[in-house]
Protein backbone atom coordinates (compact mmCIF):
# COMPACT_ATOMS: atom_id res chain seq x y z
CA UNK A 1 0.00 0.00 0.00
CA UNK A 2 2.78 2.41 1.00
CA UNK A 3 4.65 1.48 -2.12
CA UNK A 4 1.55 2.09 -4.24
CA UNK A 5 1.09 5.63 -2.87
CA UNK A 6 4.82 6.21 -3.37
CA UNK A 7 4.49 5.27 -7.02
CA UNK A 8 1.43 7.44 -7.37
CA UNK A 9 3.24 10.42 -5.79
CA UNK A 10 6.11 9.96 -8.21
CA UNK A 11 3.78 9.78 -11.13
CA UNK A 12 2.17 13.03 -10.08
CA UNK A 13 5.57 14.62 -9.54
CA UNK A 14 6.71 13.47 -12.94
CA UNK A 15 3.50 14.67 -14.56
CA UNK A 16 3.84 18.09 -12.96
CA UNK A 17 7.38 18.46 -14.20
CA UNK A 18 6.29 17.44 -17.66
CA UNK A 19 3.56 20.07 -17.49
CA UNK A 20 6.05 22.76 -16.40
CA UNK A 21 8.22 21.87 -19.37
CA UNK A 22 5.42 22.34 -21.92
CA UNK A 23 4.01 25.39 -20.11
CA UNK A 24 5.95 27.91 -22.25
CA UNK A 25 4.45 26.36 -25.38
CA UNK A 26 0.97 26.47 -23.86
CA UNK A 27 1.47 30.12 -22.93
CA UNK A 28 2.60 30.96 -26.48
CA UNK A 29 -0.38 29.08 -27.91
CA UNK A 30 -2.71 30.94 -25.53
CA UNK A 31 -1.16 34.27 -26.52
CA UNK A 32 -1.57 33.28 -30.16
CA UNK A 33 -5.28 32.65 -29.66
CA UNK A 34 -5.85 35.90 -27.77
CA UNK A 35 -3.85 38.25 -30.02
CA UNK A 36 -1.11 38.44 -27.42
CA UNK A 37 1.97 37.87 -29.58
CA UNK A 38 2.52 41.62 -30.20
CA UNK A 39 2.35 43.31 -33.60
CA UNK A 40 5.38 41.28 -34.70
CA UNK A 41 4.48 37.68 -33.75
CA UNK A 42 7.32 36.03 -35.68
CA UNK A 43 9.95 38.07 -33.88
CA UNK A 44 8.17 37.57 -30.53
CA UNK A 45 7.88 33.78 -30.84
CA UNK A 46 11.44 33.46 -32.13
CA UNK A 47 12.74 35.46 -29.18
CA UNK A 48 10.55 33.67 -26.63
CA UNK A 49 11.68 30.22 -27.78
CA UNK A 50 15.32 31.28 -27.61
CA UNK A 51 14.98 32.73 -24.13
CA UNK A 52 13.17 29.59 -22.92
CA UNK A 53 15.97 27.43 -24.33
CA UNK A 54 18.42 29.47 -22.28
CA UNK A 55 16.27 29.19 -19.15
CA UNK A 56 15.98 25.41 -19.53
CA UNK A 57 19.75 25.20 -19.94
CA UNK A 58 20.15 27.17 -16.69
CA UNK A 59 17.73 24.83 -14.89
CA UNK A 60 19.60 21.80 -16.22
CA UNK A 61 22.85 23.23 -14.89
CA UNK A 62 21.25 24.05 -11.55
CA UNK A 63 19.84 20.55 -10.99
CA UNK A 64 23.21 18.91 -10.39
CA UNK A 65 23.93 21.51 -7.73
CA UNK A 66 20.50 21.25 -6.11
CA UNK A 67 21.01 17.53 -5.73
CA UNK A 68 24.62 17.91 -4.63
CA UNK A 69 23.79 20.24 -1.80
CA UNK A 70 21.04 17.89 -0.68
CA UNK A 71 18.18 20.30 -1.37
CA UNK A 72 16.22 17.85 -3.49
CA UNK A 73 18.21 14.77 -4.32
CA UNK A 74 15.58 13.27 -6.58
CA UNK A 75 15.96 16.25 -8.92
CA UNK A 76 18.70 14.26 -10.64
CA UNK A 77 16.02 11.89 -11.93
CA UNK A 78 14.71 14.74 -14.07
CA UNK A 79 17.94 16.29 -15.26
CA UNK A 80 18.08 14.41 -18.52
CA UNK A 81 14.47 15.20 -19.31
CA UNK A 82 14.89 18.91 -18.65
CA UNK A 83 18.11 18.96 -20.64
CA UNK A 84 16.28 17.39 -23.55
CA UNK A 85 13.57 20.02 -23.24
CA UNK A 86 16.28 22.67 -23.50
CA UNK A 87 17.35 20.95 -26.73
CA UNK A 88 13.72 20.87 -27.89
CA UNK A 89 13.35 24.63 -27.36
CA UNK A 90 16.61 25.24 -29.23
CA UNK A 91 15.26 23.10 -32.10
CA UNK A 92 11.94 25.01 -32.15
CA UNK A 93 13.84 28.31 -32.06
CA UNK A 94 16.01 27.23 -35.01
CA UNK A 95 13.04 25.83 -36.94
CA UNK A 96 11.15 29.10 -36.50
CA UNK A 97 14.18 30.98 -37.80
CA UNK A 98 14.58 28.74 -40.86
CA UNK A 99 10.95 28.13 -41.80
CA UNK A 100 9.23 31.35 -40.83
CA UNK A 101 11.75 34.14 -40.29
CA UNK A 102 13.87 33.27 -43.33
CA UNK A 103 11.13 31.34 -45.19
CA UNK A 104 13.64 28.70 -46.36
CA UNK A 105 15.83 31.29 -48.06
CA UNK A 106 18.88 28.99 -47.94
CA UNK A 107 21.40 31.38 -49.55
CA UNK A 108 20.25 34.04 -47.05
CA UNK A 109 20.60 31.59 -44.16
CA UNK A 110 24.09 30.48 -45.20
CA UNK A 111 25.12 34.12 -45.57
CA UNK A 112 23.72 34.83 -42.10
CA UNK A 113 25.68 31.96 -40.58
CA UNK A 114 28.91 33.08 -42.21
CA UNK A 115 28.53 36.85 -41.80
CA UNK A 116 26.64 37.40 -38.54
CA UNK A 117 28.69 36.52 -35.48
CA UNK A 118 25.59 36.09 -33.34
CA UNK A 119 24.15 33.56 -35.77
CA UNK A 120 27.51 31.79 -36.19
CA UNK A 121 27.71 31.42 -32.42
CA UNK A 122 24.08 30.32 -32.08
CA UNK A 123 24.56 27.70 -34.76
CA UNK A 124 27.74 26.44 -33.07
CA UNK A 125 25.81 26.07 -29.80
CA UNK A 126 23.10 24.09 -31.59
CA UNK A 127 25.59 21.74 -33.28
CA UNK A 128 27.41 21.15 -30.00
CA UNK A 129 24.11 20.24 -28.34
CA UNK A 130 23.39 17.43 -30.82
CA UNK A 131 25.95 14.91 -29.44
CA UNK A 132 24.70 15.65 -25.93
CA UNK A 133 21.12 14.90 -26.92
CA UNK A 134 22.14 11.72 -28.78
CA UNK A 135 24.27 10.37 -25.93
CA UNK A 136 21.53 11.00 -23.40
CA UNK A 137 19.75 7.93 -24.75
CA UNK A 138 20.36 5.17 -22.17
CA UNK A 139 21.60 2.61 -24.69
CA UNK A 140 24.12 5.02 -26.13
CA UNK A 141 25.18 6.18 -22.71
CA UNK A 142 25.80 2.61 -21.54
CA UNK A 143 27.89 1.94 -24.60
CA UNK A 144 30.20 4.83 -23.69
CA UNK A 145 32.93 4.95 -21.09
CA UNK A 146 31.55 7.00 -18.16
CA UNK A 147 34.61 9.24 -18.25
CA UNK A 148 34.00 10.09 -21.90
CA UNK A 149 30.32 10.64 -21.31
CA UNK A 150 31.00 13.03 -18.42
CA UNK A 151 33.62 14.88 -20.39
CA UNK A 152 31.24 15.28 -23.32
CA UNK A 153 28.38 16.50 -21.16
CA UNK A 154 30.52 19.14 -19.49
CA UNK A 155 30.29 20.87 -22.85
CA UNK A 156 26.91 22.07 -21.66
CA UNK A 157 28.65 24.93 -19.82
CA UNK A 158 30.35 26.04 -23.02
CA UNK A 159 27.04 25.75 -24.87
CA UNK A 160 25.28 27.88 -22.27
CA UNK A 161 27.98 30.54 -22.54
CA UNK A 162 27.64 30.49 -26.34
CA UNK A 163 23.88 30.84 -25.93
CA UNK A 164 24.36 33.96 -23.81
CA UNK A 165 26.87 35.39 -26.31
CA UNK A 166 24.33 34.77 -29.09
CA UNK A 167 21.72 36.71 -27.10
CA UNK A 168 24.12 39.50 -26.09
CA UNK A 169 25.28 40.18 -29.64
CA UNK A 170 21.78 40.50 -31.01
CA UNK A 171 20.61 43.11 -28.51
CA UNK A 172 21.01 46.70 -29.69
CA UNK A 173 21.65 48.61 -26.49
CA UNK A 174 19.94 47.23 -23.39
CA UNK A 175 22.20 44.34 -22.39
CA UNK A 176 20.76 43.81 -18.92
CA UNK A 177 18.91 40.56 -19.74
CA UNK A 178 21.76 38.72 -21.48
CA UNK A 179 24.13 39.87 -18.73
CA UNK A 180 21.77 38.44 -16.12
CA UNK A 181 21.80 35.03 -17.81
CA UNK A 182 25.57 35.24 -18.15
CA UNK A 183 25.95 35.91 -14.42
CA UNK A 184 23.65 32.99 -13.53
CA UNK A 185 25.59 30.59 -15.75
CA UNK A 186 29.00 31.73 -14.53
CA UNK A 187 27.77 31.46 -10.92
CA UNK A 188 26.56 27.90 -11.54
CA UNK A 189 29.88 27.05 -13.15
CA UNK A 190 31.73 28.71 -10.25
CA UNK A 191 29.90 26.65 -7.64
CA UNK A 192 30.57 23.55 -9.71
CA UNK A 193 34.28 24.20 -9.46
CA UNK A 194 34.21 24.05 -5.61
CA UNK A 195 35.77 20.68 -4.78
CA UNK A 196 33.39 17.96 -3.63
CA UNK A 197 33.44 16.72 -0.05
CA UNK A 198 34.59 13.14 0.27
CA UNK A 199 31.75 10.67 0.18
CA UNK A 200 29.30 13.21 -1.20
CA UNK A 201 26.64 11.94 -3.53
CA UNK A 202 27.72 12.02 -7.13
Amino acid sequence: MARATGTMARRIESGLIWLLCVMPLLILAGQGLTDGLTANPVEYVLRALGVWALRFLCVTLAIGLIARFGLWRRAMVYRRRIGLWAFAYVCLHLTTYILVDQALDWPGIVKDIVKRPYITIGMAAFILLIPLAVTSVNKVRRAMRPRHWLWLHRLVYLIAVLGVAHYYLLVKADHRDPILYGVVILALLGVRLIPRRRGAIK
Binding site: T38, A39, N40, E43, G108, K111, D112, L170, K172, A173
Partner: protein
Protein backbone atom coordinates in the same frame (compact mmCIF):
# COMPACT_ATOMS: atom_id res chain seq x y z
CA UNK B 1 -6.25 62.22 -28.44
CA UNK B 2 -8.09 65.14 -30.00
CA UNK B 3 -9.16 65.46 -33.62
CA UNK B 4 -6.97 67.62 -35.85
CA UNK B 5 -7.95 69.70 -38.86
CA UNK B 6 -5.78 68.90 -41.83
CA UNK B 7 -5.79 68.76 -45.60
CA UNK B 8 -5.79 65.37 -47.30
CA UNK B 9 -2.77 63.40 -48.27
CA UNK B 10 -0.77 64.58 -51.27
CA UNK B 11 1.84 61.85 -51.10
CA UNK B 12 -0.25 58.72 -50.69
CA UNK B 13 1.24 55.33 -51.40
CA UNK B 14 -0.70 52.35 -52.61
CA UNK B 15 0.02 50.15 -49.58
CA UNK B 16 -2.17 49.13 -46.66
CA UNK B 17 -1.89 51.33 -43.61
CA UNK B 18 -0.67 49.62 -40.43
CA UNK B 19 -3.55 49.42 -37.93
CA UNK B 20 -3.58 52.17 -35.28
CA UNK B 21 -3.32 49.58 -32.50
CA UNK B 22 0.03 48.37 -33.90
CA UNK B 23 1.38 51.87 -34.62
CA UNK B 24 0.65 52.89 -31.03
CA UNK B 25 1.37 49.56 -29.33
CA UNK B 26 4.63 48.43 -30.90
CA UNK B 27 7.51 50.84 -31.22
CA UNK B 28 10.84 51.97 -29.84
CA UNK B 29 10.97 54.95 -27.50
CA UNK B 30 13.76 54.00 -25.10
CA UNK B 31 12.89 56.90 -22.80
CA UNK B 32 10.05 54.66 -21.62
CA UNK B 33 11.82 51.28 -21.71
CA UNK B 34 13.47 49.01 -24.25
CA UNK B 35 10.59 46.58 -24.80
CA UNK B 36 8.43 47.50 -27.76
CA UNK B 37 5.37 47.40 -25.53
CA UNK B 38 6.90 49.74 -22.93
CA UNK B 39 6.13 53.09 -24.64
CA UNK B 40 2.40 52.29 -24.75
CA UNK B 41 2.50 51.30 -21.06
CA UNK B 42 4.53 54.17 -19.62
CA UNK B 43 4.36 57.18 -21.94
CA UNK B 44 1.17 58.33 -20.21
CA UNK B 45 3.48 59.66 -17.51
CA UNK B 46 4.74 62.38 -19.86
CA UNK B 47 3.04 65.80 -19.68
CA UNK B 48 2.78 67.37 -23.14
CA UNK B 49 1.19 70.68 -22.08
CA UNK B 50 2.52 73.24 -21.49
CA UNK B 51 5.33 72.45 -23.96
CA UNK B 52 7.85 74.81 -25.45
CA UNK B 53 10.36 74.26 -28.21
CA UNK B 54 13.56 76.24 -27.83
CA UNK B 55 15.08 77.45 -31.09
CA UNK B 56 18.79 78.30 -30.89
CA UNK B 57 21.94 78.68 -32.93
CA UNK B 58 22.55 80.16 -36.34
CA UNK B 59 19.16 81.73 -37.13
CA UNK B 60 17.42 85.08 -36.80
CA UNK B 61 14.36 83.95 -34.89
CA UNK B 62 15.82 82.20 -31.86
CA UNK B 63 13.57 81.92 -28.83
CA UNK B 64 10.90 79.88 -27.13
CA UNK B 65 7.89 78.67 -29.07
CA UNK B 66 4.75 77.29 -27.48
CA UNK B 67 3.60 74.06 -29.10
CA UNK B 68 0.04 75.25 -29.75
CA UNK B 69 1.33 78.41 -31.47
CA UNK B 70 3.50 76.25 -33.71
CA UNK B 71 0.63 73.93 -34.59
CA UNK B 72 -1.68 76.88 -35.39
CA UNK B 73 0.93 78.71 -37.42
CA UNK B 74 1.39 76.10 -40.15
CA UNK B 75 -1.42 74.38 -42.05
CA UNK B 76 -1.51 70.68 -41.26
CA UNK B 77 -1.58 67.99 -43.90
CA UNK B 78 -1.74 64.21 -43.91
CA UNK B 79 1.23 62.21 -45.17
CA UNK B 80 1.04 58.45 -45.52
CA UNK B 81 4.62 57.26 -45.23
CA UNK B 82 6.47 53.99 -44.98
CA UNK B 83 8.44 53.68 -41.75
CA UNK B 84 11.44 51.34 -41.84
CA UNK B 85 13.05 50.47 -38.50
CA UNK B 86 16.78 49.68 -38.46
CA UNK B 87 15.75 46.38 -36.81
CA UNK B 88 14.25 45.26 -40.16
CA UNK B 89 10.54 45.71 -39.50
CA UNK B 90 8.34 48.32 -41.13
CA UNK B 91 4.95 50.02 -41.06
CA UNK B 92 2.83 52.38 -43.16
CA UNK B 93 1.70 55.32 -41.04
CA UNK B 94 -0.72 58.18 -41.83
CA UNK B 95 0.99 61.12 -40.13
CA UNK B 96 -0.48 64.59 -39.72
CA UNK B 97 1.95 67.50 -39.61
CA UNK B 98 3.63 70.30 -41.49
CA UNK B 99 6.79 70.31 -43.62
CA UNK B 100 9.89 71.14 -41.59
CA UNK B 101 10.89 73.41 -44.50
CA UNK B 102 8.07 75.82 -43.61
CA UNK B 103 9.23 76.10 -40.02
CA UNK B 104 12.87 76.52 -41.04
CA UNK B 105 12.03 79.32 -43.49
CA UNK B 106 10.11 81.10 -40.73
CA UNK B 107 13.10 80.80 -38.39
CA UNK B 108 15.45 82.39 -40.98
CA UNK B 109 18.68 80.43 -40.61
CA UNK B 110 21.85 82.41 -41.39
CA UNK B 111 24.12 81.54 -44.30
CA UNK B 112 26.51 79.71 -41.94
CA UNK B 113 23.82 77.23 -40.88
CA UNK B 114 24.53 73.82 -42.44
CA UNK B 115 22.80 71.43 -40.05
CA UNK B 116 19.68 71.29 -37.87
CA UNK B 117 19.99 69.48 -34.53
CA UNK B 118 17.06 68.27 -32.41
CA UNK B 119 16.76 67.20 -28.79
CA UNK B 120 14.14 65.20 -26.94
CA UNK B 121 12.87 66.12 -23.49
CA UNK B 122 15.12 64.95 -20.68
CA UNK B 123 13.22 64.30 -17.46
CA UNK B 124 13.69 60.95 -15.70
CA UNK B 125 10.62 61.61 -13.53
CA UNK B 126 8.43 61.57 -16.63
CA UNK B 127 10.63 59.23 -18.64
CA UNK B 128 11.55 56.21 -16.50
CA UNK B 129 13.81 54.73 -19.19
CA UNK B 130 16.19 57.68 -18.68
CA UNK B 131 17.01 56.34 -15.22
CA UNK B 132 19.26 53.78 -16.95
CA UNK B 133 22.24 54.93 -19.00
CA UNK B 134 21.27 52.92 -22.06
CA UNK B 135 21.77 55.94 -24.28
CA UNK B 136 23.46 59.24 -23.58
CA UNK B 137 20.35 61.27 -22.67
CA UNK B 138 18.82 63.46 -23.90
CA UNK B 139 18.23 61.76 -27.25
CA UNK B 140 19.64 63.88 -30.06
CA UNK B 141 19.32 63.72 -33.80
CA UNK B 142 20.22 65.98 -36.71
CA UNK B 143 19.84 66.50 -40.43
CA UNK B 144 21.84 68.32 -43.03
CA UNK B 145 20.01 71.57 -43.79
CA UNK B 146 19.15 70.46 -47.34
CA UNK B 147 17.74 67.18 -45.99
CA UNK B 148 15.69 69.16 -43.51
CA UNK B 149 14.36 71.38 -46.31
CA UNK B 150 13.35 68.41 -48.49
CA UNK B 151 9.55 68.43 -49.03
CA UNK B 152 9.29 64.91 -47.58
CA UNK B 153 10.64 65.95 -44.18
CA UNK B 154 7.74 66.34 -41.80
CA UNK B 155 7.19 67.70 -38.33
CA UNK B 156 4.40 65.37 -37.21
CA UNK B 157 1.89 66.36 -34.55
CA UNK B 158 -0.68 63.65 -35.20
CA UNK B 159 -1.47 60.29 -36.71
CA UNK B 160 -4.69 58.80 -38.00
CA UNK B 161 -6.23 62.28 -37.84
CA UNK B 162 -5.75 62.67 -34.09
CA UNK B 163 -3.08 64.38 -32.00
CA UNK B 164 0.00 62.19 -31.51
CA UNK B 165 -0.27 59.63 -28.73
CA UNK B 166 2.53 60.17 -26.20
CA UNK B 167 4.25 56.90 -27.11
CA UNK B 168 4.64 58.05 -30.72
CA UNK B 169 6.48 61.23 -29.74
CA UNK B 170 3.88 63.78 -28.66
CA UNK B 171 3.51 66.63 -28.98
CA UNK B 172 5.87 67.04 -31.93
CA UNK B 173 8.35 64.76 -33.69
CA UNK B 174 10.43 64.45 -36.82
CA UNK B 175 9.55 62.08 -39.69
CA UNK B 176 12.09 61.36 -42.46
CA UNK B 177 10.62 58.40 -44.35
CA UNK B 178 13.72 57.59 -46.42
CA UNK B 179 15.79 57.13 -43.27
CA UNK B 180 15.71 54.46 -40.57
CA UNK B 181 13.25 55.14 -37.79
CA UNK B 182 15.87 56.13 -35.22
CA UNK B 183 16.37 59.40 -37.14
CA UNK B 184 12.75 60.34 -36.38
CA UNK B 185 13.38 62.00 -33.04
CA UNK B 186 10.35 62.23 -30.74
CA UNK B 187 8.99 64.73 -28.21
CA UNK B 188 11.25 67.54 -29.40
CA UNK B 189 12.13 70.38 -27.01
CA UNK B 190 15.05 71.97 -28.82
CA UNK B 191 15.99 72.85 -32.39
CA UNK B 192 19.42 74.28 -33.11
CA UNK B 193 21.07 75.43 -36.32
CA UNK B 194 24.79 74.66 -36.51
CA UNK B 195 27.71 74.98 -38.90
CA UNK B 196 29.30 71.66 -37.94
CA UNK B 197 27.77 68.20 -37.99
CA UNK B 198 26.00 67.64 -34.64
CA UNK B 199 26.36 64.48 -32.61
CA UNK B 200 23.54 61.97 -32.81
CA UNK B 201 22.57 59.48 -30.11
CA UNK B 202 22.86 56.09 -31.78
CA UNK B 203 25.97 57.18 -33.64
CA UNK B 204 27.60 58.04 -30.30
CA UNK B 205 26.67 54.61 -28.91
CA UNK B 206 27.83 52.50 -31.87
CA UNK B 207 29.34 54.51 -34.76
CA UNK B 208 29.97 51.40 -36.88
CA UNK B 209 26.32 50.38 -36.64
CA UNK B 210 24.45 53.67 -36.89
CA UNK B 211 25.76 56.37 -39.17
CA UNK B 212 24.85 60.04 -39.24
CA UNK B 213 22.72 59.65 -42.35
CA UNK B 214 20.77 56.50 -41.50
CA UNK B 215 19.46 56.25 -45.07
CA UNK B 216 17.55 53.04 -45.74
CA UNK B 217 19.83 50.95 -47.94
CA UNK B 218 19.25 47.23 -48.60
CA UNK B 219 22.83 46.87 -49.88
CA UNK B 220 24.50 48.06 -46.69
CA UNK B 221 24.01 45.55 -43.89
CA UNK B 222 23.85 46.53 -40.30
CA UNK B 223 27.06 44.88 -39.01
CA UNK B 224 24.96 42.41 -37.06
CA UNK B 225 22.06 41.71 -39.41
CA UNK B 226 21.05 42.04 -43.04
CA UNK B 227 19.04 45.05 -44.22
CA UNK B 228 18.07 43.43 -47.54
CA UNK B 229 14.59 42.48 -46.33
CA UNK B 230 12.10 43.65 -43.77
CA UNK B 231 8.99 42.35 -42.09
CA UNK B 232 6.04 44.64 -42.69
CA UNK B 233 3.97 44.56 -39.50
CA UNK B 234 0.87 42.49 -40.26
CA UNK B 235 2.63 40.38 -42.90
CA UNK B 236 4.03 36.93 -42.27
CA UNK B 237 7.00 36.77 -44.63
CA UNK B 238 9.67 39.35 -45.24
CA UNK B 239 9.53 41.69 -48.21
CA UNK B 240 12.43 43.30 -50.04
CA UNK B 241 13.67 46.60 -48.66
CA UNK B 242 13.80 49.41 -51.23
CA UNK B 243 16.70 51.87 -51.56
CA UNK B 244 15.81 55.06 -49.68
CA UNK B 245 12.75 53.11 -48.49
CA UNK B 246 11.16 53.71 -51.90
CA UNK B 247 11.69 57.50 -51.84
CA UNK B 248 14.74 57.60 -54.13
CA UNK B 249 13.00 59.82 -56.70
CA UNK B 250 12.56 62.55 -54.11
CA UNK B 251 15.83 62.29 -52.19
CA UNK B 252 18.57 60.52 -54.16
CA UNK B 253 19.67 63.91 -55.52
CA UNK B 254 20.65 65.01 -52.02
CA UNK B 255 23.47 62.47 -52.00
CA UNK B 256 24.79 62.76 -55.55
CA UNK B 257 28.56 62.50 -55.53
CA UNK B 258 28.62 60.80 -52.12
CA UNK B 259 29.37 57.08 -51.81
CA UNK B 260 26.04 55.46 -51.00
CA UNK B 261 27.87 52.84 -48.95
CA UNK B 262 28.98 55.48 -46.47
CA UNK B 263 25.45 56.80 -45.98
CA UNK B 264 24.18 54.16 -43.53
Amino acid sequence: AAALKYSPNRMAIDEDKTPLKDVTGYNNFYEFGTDKGDPALYAKMMKTRPWTVTVAGLCEKTGQYGIDDLIRRFPLEERIYRMRCVEAWSMVIPWVGFPLAKLIKALEPTSQAKYVAFQTLRDPRQMPGQRSDILDWPYQEALRLDEALNPLTLMAVGLYGQTLPNQNGAPIRLVTPWKYGFKGIKSIVRIQFTANRPKTSWNILAPREYGFYGNVNPDVDHPRWSQAKERRIGEFFRRKTLPFNGYGDQVAGLYRGLDARTLY
